[in-house]
Assembly symmetry: C2
Homo-oligomer: 140 residues x 2
Amino acid sequence: MRISTRGEYGLRAMLVLAENYNKGPYPLREIAKLEQISEQYLEQLFRKLRKSQLVVSYRGARGGYVLARDPADISVNQVLTALEGPLAPMQCVAENIKDEKCKHRGNCSARVVWEKLKDAINKILDETTLADLIANATEE
Amino acid sequence: MRISTRGEYGLRAMLVLAENYNKGPYPLREIAKLEQISEQYLEQLFRKLRKSQLVVSYRGARGGYVLARDPADISVNQVLTALEGPLAPMQCVAENIKDEKCKHRGNCSARVVWEKLKDAINKILDETTLADLIANATEE
DNA sequence: ATAATCCCGAGTAAAAGAGTATGTTTTGGC
DNA sequence: GCCAAAACATACTCTTTTACTCGGGATTAT
């Protein structure tokens, strides 16, 4: 039940952009150096973030990435979902297929706990924004 | 962020034992047939469950497994942890190494959300027992 | 004795994870 | 106009994990 490095690196990179919000395009190379992440790997991750419209890119010299909107309007859930897919502990509760029952015996009493887990996870991640996280950081 | 088939199958198998609590040893072969799971794979899982003292085994003909204690005293967290290891979204918050800080820049403001996630996950799974799940199932 | 059962170590094929490699395209600045 | 800095893109590779399988051995009720 781990988040992969995609989510881990991607979130850290987004926090860098959040800290530099409204200061013009920020190049991946800088993020990579700061966070000690492979630049090419970051590029892969940012393709997904861009397609999910969480960042906007500027090409060419002096180019880079900026957050698509205010850090307070980007949740951790949006970032992780873009990078990792739906955050659910089990396939059967990942999509909105509440109608389809599990094929298992009875109808799978285990599913109840997977639903609860999914809801708890998504609640936390929806409630937490990039702004929340960088606010915490500066408090010390 | 998925639970593997170890946790999935293991929990379903434990629910079968919970439903048959106090009825004597229940053989893996039966569980495997009921739940459509490979018997040899289940054996591997039950080795872990036994070592975590969640089940007791009886060898020989008419042998099988029984829950080590009442279904109301076995949490889903205990089952999943035995099979999957500590349930944490990130290595850095998995063990009790709160003292050790992340090596990342600043000190990793992302960690806050990982801690919250971990706590939420463990709370749900601690609160839910095998008895809770089978109670739900019989309600329909 | 035999069949049913748990017990155990090792092996293996497929998938996912974590990147690399090798470019092309765009654009600001000189 | 040229150049360097950047994003964009596809494909490849290596490692680890997952999800099992294989082939046996040890116990025990009947």
